[in-house]
Amino acid sequence: MGADSDEEDFVVYGTPIEREEDTSARKRRAIAEAGQLRALPAWKQEVRDEEGRRRFHGAFTGGFSAGFYNSVGSKEGWTPQTFTSSRKNRAELKKQSIYSFLDEEDIKDMGGNALETSQQYDTFGFTAAEYARKQASKEQKERPSAIPGPIPDELVIPTTNSIGVKLLMKMGWRQGRSIKDSHADSLYESRRNARKAFLALSDVKNDKDQDQIDSDKPSLDQSVVGSFDEMRASGSTPVHVLHPKQDLHGLGYDPFKHAPEFRDRKRLQKSRERDHKRNDVSGRGNLLISNSGHYAPGFGIGALEELDVEDEDIYASGFAYEQTEVDIEPSKTSDGNYKLDDRKRGIFLSFKIASNSEYKLERFPSPEIPVDFDGRHKFPTPAQPAEKVSDLAPPEVPPPEDSTLRLLIEGCAAMVARCGKHIEDFYKEKSKTNPQFHFLSGGDGCSYYMRKLWEHQLRYTGQPRPVDLKSKPSSDKLTAENRGRILGERPLDISTKPQNSLSAKEAVQLQSNLIDTFVKPITLDALPESEKPFRNDPAKQARFEQFLKDKYQGGLRTANVAPVSTMSEADRARERLDFEAAAEAIEKGKEKDIKPSSVLPLPGLNDQRFISATQLESSIVPQDERPIYPRREQFEWRPAPILCKRFDIVDPFMGKPMPVQRPRSKIENLIFMTESTMGTKDKEESSSRSSHDASSVAGITEAEAQGTTNDPDVKLSSVQRPVDLYKAIFSDDSDDDTDEIVNHQPVDPVKTSEGANMALNRLAAEDFLESLGKEFGLEVPPERPNVLFRSETLSVAVASVSSQNEKVATTYMEVKENQSSRGMVEVGNANEDAPLANTGKLDLKYEKRERITEENSSRPLHQQNQNHSPDSDSSSERHRSRKRRSHHRTRSRTPESDSSTERRSSRRRKSHSRHRRARSRTPDADSPSDTQHEERKRKEKRRNRAYTPDADSSGHEYKERNKSSSRRSSDKDRSRKHSRHHKHRRKDHAEYS
C-alpha cells in the first residue's frame, strides 16, 4: 500500500526527453545501410521503413516479402486490399473494372480517353458484325426514307469482314472455301474416285434406259466432278448465296420437281451455252444432291405443290446443304448400292437398279476361330520337357579325368534336364568367364555334358526310349548339332582357352570369397593319446572325434554332428563350442610339432578350460597361470574404401560384398552353426534310406501335412549355404544378396583356390545349382522320387526339423515341470499354483508351436540383427542389450493386454522392429507391469519382486525366445538362469490361460 501511495505521489512535469541514441539508433543505422543497400544485388535488397525495420505484413498477407521487393505498403508499392467480410454485405460484390488495375499515372497518360475494345483486333468478326449493324441502324435513322417502318435495308446487313478474314482474303482465300490445303487430303481423292465409279454406273443405267443424257456423257461427268470439287472446297464454310435466281419462275417454284433429270439436262445445256463456264453451283441439281430432295431456298411452296416430307427444310438452306453432304459421303464410299436400294428407289423415276452390277464391294467373312483358341502363346517350358529330349543319343564319351569337372557337369546336366533349356542358357551367360563352365559353350567336356544331359533328360521324363530310335520323322528340328551327331562328326574343338579373362579384380574377389567359404583340411585321424581332450568321458571323446572328422576334413563347413538323443540342444551347442576350441588347440599344437621343444603342454585341454560364454572375451587373463606375453592375434579388418584411397592403396576388400564383422564372441559362431545344421541335419541318414521310395513319398506328404510352417526354414538352409560358392564361381558383381552371407569367418588368406575344387567334390553340384535356380526365381519342378534322392533329404530334413521342434517343446515342458515342482518347494502356498501350471501346459505347447513358426518366418531378421548388432563389444554386452530389449517389451505391454492374442501380436511387432525397439527403450523401467486385476497375479508379482525385477523379467522373455527358436539355445549362461525363470514361466501360464 505504501508503495502504491508513493507512486501516486510522484508527479511528473513536462515531457521526458527522448534519448538521442534510443530513437535515432535505428534511424541512423537505416541511413547507413541505405548506402550499403545500393551496393547489394537487387535480390538481396530489402525495403525498410523510415525506422529501418523490415515491413511485416502479417503472416497471411505476405509476411516479410510482399510485392515487388517487399514494397507492399510502402510509398512505392501498392496497398493491399483490406479484408472485409462478405458475410453481411454479400450484395456489394465489387466489380472489377480496368481502372482498378491502373494507377493515376496510367490514367493520366490516357489523356481522358476511355478505354474500349478496337474492332481492328476482333479476330472472329462477331463484334465487328455487331458494330456494323449498329452503325447501319444509326445511319438508317439519320437517312430519310420513303417507306416508313421496317425497311428492307434493315434486313440487309452490311458485312464487315474481320481482320482475320481480311488477312485470309489477302492470302488468296475466298469465301466459301475451306482453309485447308486443297489437295492434301487423300481421302477426298478416294471419295472422288468412288463417285466417279458411281456415276459410271448410273451412266450404264442411262444407257440401258435409252435416256437422252447419253449424248453428253463426258460433259456430265466433268460437270459433276467439277461440282464435287466445288463442294469439297466449300467444305467447312457456309456459303449463303449459291443460287442466283436466273429464271422467270416464281420464287420457290421448281419446274423439275418431279423430274430432276431434266434439271440436269437443262443445266447442262445452259452450261454448254456458257462455254463450260464453271460455277453453276447447282450441285443439288445433279443426280446426287437431288436425293435429299432439298431444293433452292425460297420463301414458300407453290400452292399446288404437295408438302413432301423432303420439303420440310426449305428455309435452312445452307445448313441443310452441309448436312446433305455429310449424309452423302459415307454412303458413297462404303455401301452406296444398298443405300440406293433402300431409300431412293422411287426417286429415280426412269431408272431401274441393275439386278447384278459388275461393281461390287468384295466382302470376306471373318475368319473362324477354333474353339480351343486361347489367345495366349505358350512357349515350350519345363512343363513339357519331354518334347525337348532329343531322340538322338549323343555318343558315349568317357568322362573327363578331372573329377571336379565331371561332378560339375553331371550336376549341371541333371539340373538342366530338370529345369529346362533356359537354365542352361542362364548358366552359360552367367559363367562366360569361368573356365569351369566352358563345357556349356562347347569347351572342355562338352560332349560328355551332352551325353549326360541326354541321359538325365531321359531319366527325368521317365520315358525310356530306345536308344537307337533313329527312324523318327525329320519333322523334328534338325539342328546343325544334331545333324553332325547323326553323321558322327566331332564338334570342332574350341581352342579358345579361358584366355585369362579374369581381371585382377575378379581374381581378388574370387579368392577372397573362396577363402571365407572353405576351411583348411587337416588330418586329425590318428590323434595321439596325449591329445585326447576328453579322455575322462569316452562317449564325449568319440563325439569329438566324429566332430573333427566332419568338421575339418576340408571343404565346406558342414558342422553336423550325429545327434545325441539324450542331449538337449543347449548341451549340444555347448559341447560344440568345447569341441571347436579343443580342435583349435590341437591344431595349434600340431603346428608346433615341427619344433618339438616348443610344444606347449596345451594347458587347459579339459572341460574346465572352456568356461561358459560370458567370460570368453575376457579370458585374456586366466587366473591360474600366467599367459605369455606378447601374444599375437590376427583378425580381419576392413578398411574403408576412402581410407584406402587416401593411403593410396588398393582396397583389399574391393568388390567384396559386405563389411565382414569379426565375430565378437564364439556365441555368434555357434548360432549360425546350429542354424546351418538345422536343415542339413540327418542328411546322411536320409541318403542311406534313400532306397525306400514309398516311405519317402510318405515323408513328403507328412512333411507337408506338418504345415507350411517349417518350409521357410528348410528353404533357408538349403538356399543359404551355397551362395558363397556360386558367387565365387560366377563372380557376379551384383551384390544384391549380401545379407545371405553369414558364414564369413576370419580364415587365413593364404588358401588357394584348391579349396574350390575340394568343395565341389564335397558339394553335390546340382544341389547348389538348384538353389541357384531358386535364387533367381526360375521354376524348379519338384523332383521325381526315383531320379535323385534330393527330395527325400529335403523331406527328411523337414521331418527332422519338426521332430526337433517337438523335442524342444517336450524339453521345455520338462523344464517347466521341474520348475513348477521347485516352485512348490520354494513358495509356501504353491499348491494353488500347481493346477494352474498344469492347465497351462497344453496351452503352452500350442503356444510354443506357434512361436516356432513365427520365429522361423522372422529368422532372417534375427540373423541380420545378430550379425550387424551395433557396437556391443563383448558377448556380455550383447546379452545386456538383449535384456534391455526384452525388458522393454515387457514394459510396453499394457496391464489389460494379458490375452495371448495381444501377446502374439506384440511379439510379431517385435520381430519386425527389433532395432527400433532396442533404441526406444525406456531408461528406467523397473517392474514388469502385470495386471492388478486378479489376485493370483498379484501374488505372482509379489514373488517377482523377490528377485531383481529387471534382470529376470527380461531373462524370462529372453529365454522364452531362445527356447522357441532352438537356436539361441546355445547361449551358455542361459542354463544358469534356469532357476530364476521358474516363477515367470508360471506367471506366463497364467497369462496364456
Binding site: 587373463v621 606375453y629 583378425f635 576392413r638 584406402c644 593411403f647 592403396i649 588398393v650 569379426r662 557396437d871
Partner: protein
C-alpha cells in the same frame, strides 16, 4: 656405455624454450628437424625454431588442453588434438583453423598425419581410433576403429598401417593393404608407442615402468628396458579430473623414442630423468635429470644428435 657412439648422446642442454604457461604435454620435431612444435595445458600450440630458440608462432583456438600435435610432411599444415574432443587442422602460415574434425566422444590423445597428408588419424579416450579425410569438406570420420577395450593412448602411421597402443594392453596394427588387424597383447597398459626408423620394430612404453621392443612383423618381444619410473595408470583420466577437482599431482602420458640411428632407446621418467638404453642389450647407457618434474614428451631429431624434451614444469629443453 663407453662406446664412441654413447659420447654423442645429447646430454648437454643447449637451450630452453620458455613460453608455455603450465605443463607442456607434447613436443615434436617437424619432419626435417628444423622446427619444433609444442603444445600444452595453456591451450596453445607453439612453433619454435629449437636451434635458435625463437618462438615463431603461437596458435590459439583450442578450448582446452592440447595433447598432441603433428605437422604435415610439407610443413604446410598442422594437426592438433586435445581435451576438447576436436581435432584442429591448421594452416601453418596464417595460423587459422582450416577445419575441425569432430567425432570423438571424449579427449583425443594422439593425432598423426599420414604419408600423403591426406588423412588424419587420431586416437582417443573413447576407445576409438578415427580417421579423417583432409581433402573433403566433411568433418566426420571416414573410418572408426572401435575394437579397443580401453583408451587409446598413441597412434602412429606408416605407409600402409595404422598402429595404435591402448590402455587395454594391446598394440593393434591395422594393415590397410592386407585388410588385417594384428593384435599384440602386451599384458600391460601401453602408454606410448613409437616406431624405429627402419619401421621394423615397435617401441611400447608400458605403464609397468617397462619399455618393450617388439618385432613388428612377428610380434615377438625383442627386448625390455627398465629402470625408469612410469607406473601411473589411468594418467589421462587424472589429467581430466585435475581440471575438475584441482588435483595438482596428476601424471602424464610419457613418451619414448629411439634415437635417429636406432642405436638407443630414449625414455622419460616421472622424476624428470631421461634414460638412454642400448638397443640390443638393454643396459642403461646414460641417464640424467632433465627436468624438475615429469618428462612428458621426448622428440629426437631425425638426423642429428639433438633431442627435445618437455615437462610438466612448463619448459621445453633442447639437448645436443
Amino acid at each position: 656405455m663407453s662406446s664412441a657412439a654413447a659420447q654423442h648422446l645429447p646430454r648437454k642442454e643447449s637451450r630452453e624454450l620458455l613460453g608455455h604457461e603450465g605443463a607442456v604435454l607434447a613436443v615434436r620435431f617437424n619432419r626435417d628437424g628444423n622446427y619444433c612444435l609444442s603444445c600444452g595445458k595453456d591451450r596453445t600450440l607453439r612453433l619454435w625454431n629449437p636451434h635458435t630458440g625463437a618462438l615463431v608462432k603461437t596458435y590459439k583456438s583450442h578450448a582446452r588442453e592440447v595433447r598432441d600435435v603433428h605437422s604435415s610432411s610439407d610443413n604446410a599444415k598442422l594437426v592438433s588434438c586435445g581435451a576438447d574432443r576436436q581435432i584442429f587442422y591448421w594452416d601453418v602460415s596464417t595460423g587459422r583453423v582450416i577445419r575441425k574434425f569432430r567425432g570423438h566422444n571424449s579427449e583425443v590423445n594422439s593425432v598423426k598425419f599420414n604419408e600423403y597428408n591426406a588423412v588424419v588419424v587420431s586416437a582417443g579416450y573413447d576407445r576409438t581410433v578415427r580417421a579423417f579425410d583432409c581433402r573433403s569438406q566433411s568433418s566426420d570420420p571416414i573410418q572408426t576403429i572401435d575394437t579397443f577395450q580401453d583408451s587409446v593412448m598413441s597412434v602412429i602411421l606408416t605407409k600402409t598401417e595404422i598402429i595404435a597402443g591402448s590402455v587395454d594392453g594391446t598394440v593393434r596394427t591395422f594393415d590397410i593393404r592386407m585388410g588385417r588387424e594384428t593384435v599384440d597383447n602386451l599384458g600391460h597398459p601401453v602408454n606410448c608407442i613409437s616406431l624405429s626408423n627402419d619401421s621394423n620394430c615397435l617401441l611400447a612404453n608400458c605403464l609397468d615402468s617397462t619399455v618393450r621392443l617388439l618385432d613388428k612383423t612377428t610380434g615377438e618381444m625383442l627386448q625390455e628396458y627398465k629402470g625408469h619410473a612410469c607406473k601411473v595408470s589411468l594418467n589421462i583420466i587424472l589429467v581430466f579430473f585435475e581440471d575438475v577437482l584441482g588435483v595438482a599431482n596428476a601424471s602424464f602420458k610419457m613418451d619414448c623414442c629411439l634415437t635417429n640411428d636406432d642405436a638407443y632407446v630414449v625414455g622419460g621418467s616421472e622424476n624428470g630423468y631421461i634414460f638412454f638404453w642400448e638397443l640390443v642389450d638393454a643396459p642403461v647407457v646414460a641417464s640424467f635429470r632433465a627436468h624438475s618434474s615429469v618428462v612428458t614428451s621426448i622428440s629426437y631429431h631425425p638426423t642429428k644428435a639433438c633431442m627435445l624434451t618437455s615437462s610438466v614444469d612448463g619448459s621445453v629443453r633442447v639437448w645436443n
